[in-house]
Symmetry: C2
Subunit: 461 residues, 2 copies
């Protein structure tokens, strides 16, 4: 079967529809275009051939069987909120949307687990868990609009990771479909399980390159205690970063975030919260431990010892939530300033002050605005490069700064991506993290799952 020319294209669409009926298959170019990108505007994207809107595991199986037989690439997606181009179209691919597979199948307070389809929004699961007095911890900033399937595929992080770990720490079991259409289950409801290799953990973060997730069993926690919250403004980035290292190494916190002056100013312009835009950095800490108030008092002392100019604290949950709005608005506020290129790097915690110094120096060197915010307690920063134009020259300068930031993180013993994934945006940097033997091994593992290489080829690994 050859697939060139308009007739061949028509016959491709017809055969796909025939293979999948009654599952909706879109081939309208405008629709395809609108599904061909995630939220990484500067990551490369190709032209898709069709969009399958799967409604069930059977639809996923049928799509993969069809594609595998013909060697057609399949890019799986749900909400498309990814930040590394992992869900971007590949030329000639089938886009396989699992967004409509959005049922919460079960929440079980006994085992403290929930079974969900991949298209369930993170916030919908969290709300359902909360209704039953339970807590779904993983909290990527996108949680209101991103799905559990995408969260698992990227091993999404969030502010909770400092205490509660990443998405993968909360996945008990998966049902997936392999490239040839074989259904497979991994994991267990038992809290501990060492039967066989840990395929669940291998699939988490594999960005659609190994299999398509069709069901996930996630762990829920008991509802956390009310948190105590602190906001501290610092004269210099260095003192803020040092205070963060001091707090993280002595205190039991559930959140420890940073925003630099550029970010604080952008948020203040958006929200009029009366933030101190003359400070070089804002640090936000929370504890939900049994001694939360005492922990936050310790943080207050440490911030003052590191020359914080102003400290606000509260033991009230609602007030704490209001203070967190400043952090939640960081990215939308920066996006109002121009085109943005969002980076995501993580360094070992003691390297945080040096990393923040280097980002500032990179901004200066390239005459660029870089707003830096992130999960500082984990050493995970999101330097966001803001530039006015969308022309090639502007982009080139932005990418040069992006490049410098990624390399600085690796030089400091860190990683090219803390939580957003590699996707298509960072694939060229994998060589900074992995040697030739590791990359060759990843290729062999990929082939063990997907011998024809149809699943999101050219991404992530």
């Amino acid at each position: 079967m050859t697939l060139t020319g308009p007739f061949a294209f028509a016959s491709f669409a017809e055969s796909l529809r025939a293979a999948l009926a009654p599952c909706p298959v879109e081939t309208d170019p405008d629709i395809l275009l609108s599904f061909s990108r995630d939220q990484a505007p500067l990551a490369p994207a190709g032209v898709a051939r069709a969009l399958v809107r799967a409604r069930s595991t059977a639809d996923v199986v049928a799509t993969l069987r069809f594609a595998n037989g013909l060697g057609i690439p399949v890019v799986t997606r749900a909400a498309g909120t990814g930040l590394a181009g992992g869900a971007n179209a590949i030329d000639g691919c089938i886009l396989l949307s699992v967004a409509a597979m959005d049922r919460i199948l079960r929440v079980d307070p006994g085992t403290r687990t929930a079974v969900v389809e991949p298209g369930v929004l993170n916030a919908a699961l969290a709300a359902e868990a909360a209704r039953q007095g339970l807590y779904y911890a993983p909290d990527p900033a996108s949680r209101e609009i991103s799905t559990i399937g995408g969260n698992i595929a990227t091993n999404a992080g969030g502010a909770c990771c400092l205490k509660y770990g990443v998405t993968g720490d909360h996945v008990a079991a998966l049902e997936v479909v392999l490239a040839d259409g074989t259904r497979m289950r991994t994991g267990s409801l038992a809290a501990k399980n060492v039967a066989g290799l840990d395929l669940t953990r291998l699939l988490v973060g594999s960005e659609g390159t190994l299999a398509v997730i069709v069901e996930a069993t996630v762990r829920l926690l008991r509802a956390p205690r009310p948190a105590s919250t602190l906001l501290a403004f610092f004269e210099t980035l260095e003192r803020a970063a040092e205070a963060i290292v001091a707090m993280e190494s002595t205190t039991d916190l559930s959140l420890l975030e940073v925003m630099d002056r550029t970010t604080v100013t952008a948020v203040e312009d958006l929200t009029h919260m009366d933030l101190d835009t003359s400070a070089a950095a804002l640090v936000i800490a929370q504890s939900d431990a049994a001694d939360a108030s005492e922990a936050i008092s310790t943080c207050e002392r440490l911030c003052r010892a590191h020359a914080a100019r102003d400290v606000i604290r509260t033991d009230d949950r609602a007030e704490g939530e209001m203070l967190l709005v400043a952090r939640r608005k960081a990215l939308p506020a920066l996006e109002r300033l121009g085109t943005t290129l969002l980076d995501d790097v993580a360094v070992p915690k003691p390297a945080l002050p040096e990393m923040m110094r280097r980002i500032a120096a990179i901004a200066e060197r390239h005459h660029l605005t870089i707003g830096t915010f992130g999960h500082a307690g984990d050493g995970n920063l999101h330097p966001t490069i803001v530039f006015p134009g969308t022309d090639g020259a502007s982009r080139a300068v932005a990418f040069a700064a992006f490049d410098d930031i990624v390399r600085a993180a690796v030089e400091l013993g860190g990683t090219i991506s803390g939580e957003h994934g590699v996707g298509s945006l960072k694939r060229d940097y994998l060589g900074l993290m992995l040697g030739e033997p590791e990359r060759a091994l990843l290729g062999r593992i990929k082939a063990a799952f997907d011998p024809n290489g149809i699943l999101n080829p050219g991404k992530a690994i």
Copy 2:
């Protein structure tokens, strides 16, 4: 090169010595025999051809290159404290001991990590971390005599898992040698890292079938607070199990263990601690949370509400340690009663009462003594079958009970192994956990690491 007959054997040993010199290579049959078993006396073991006592990564590389070229199986071992026969010899294999690679290379309070060779004892690392005010959490019962390499290879558990997770949750990075002698690094010092697939987690628990661990970077925690401790004696196993489920689902505990009457009686006979041997079960709980004393008070109330006949509690750390001795002596105490066949199963937590009922019924049905103890808060039990003889008939009855226990755990939604591993003892049960597609996939992943199948073939997967 053929390897049969005495001359060929001599030439094999000579070529191995020549390839490895000056690394010690043993071929004395008595020495080989003493290194041919771990601590699972009833798991099958073969006859090894040589023992290599590796002193460095270079020795491991040379051993694997030699073995891979000739297709000779390699069984890696360190202290040999495994409980599933994972380190048992295979006929004609090279035993590769990494016990002498026992240096703690670095403890870094800044990143809260330690870099160790695989032969470092768990307790030695924990002690060194403690000297620096830090805490290595994974605490398998064998920690005084088992190594970090073995702990990682089996993803060892322990009592800490309830709060702190399994060994794999504390491994940041690995250096391993692949079957062909290639050295490879995985992981990162950053707290969050999503670059590439999670090879670190895939290697954890792979029981020597994928690669040989030559260095591990593990995460350390801040030293925990002093724990509060509770011991409660119950009239019936069911009420004890129900109390455990109630405590686990409401209270922030760091340890929640159970021992049945058989185990308590054996421990009392050994220790004369004045334990109540007329009770059907003893439950031990600890909390090291900021509100530990309050948490233990809640547990006390819950135990009394579930008809505990006697409750002892203390907020004193030293007293708590003394009370824990009862639990630590469980296995040695049972081993004094006869030959033991130690099982290791885990069930979803709500199934704990039913699992304990079933174990009692299995003991009755087979007219056997079964002492059950374990990490009840995780649903992880170690029913220990005690039988007088070592003859075939006695063993057959013991294995029939073992079989019933494993199947009961799986029927209740649990796993064939919570923390001891599959090794050779439980390989026949893998089919209860994994379907044909999963097993085929494990085989393909194994081949991606070890195409000639020399690493611990016939074990674990």
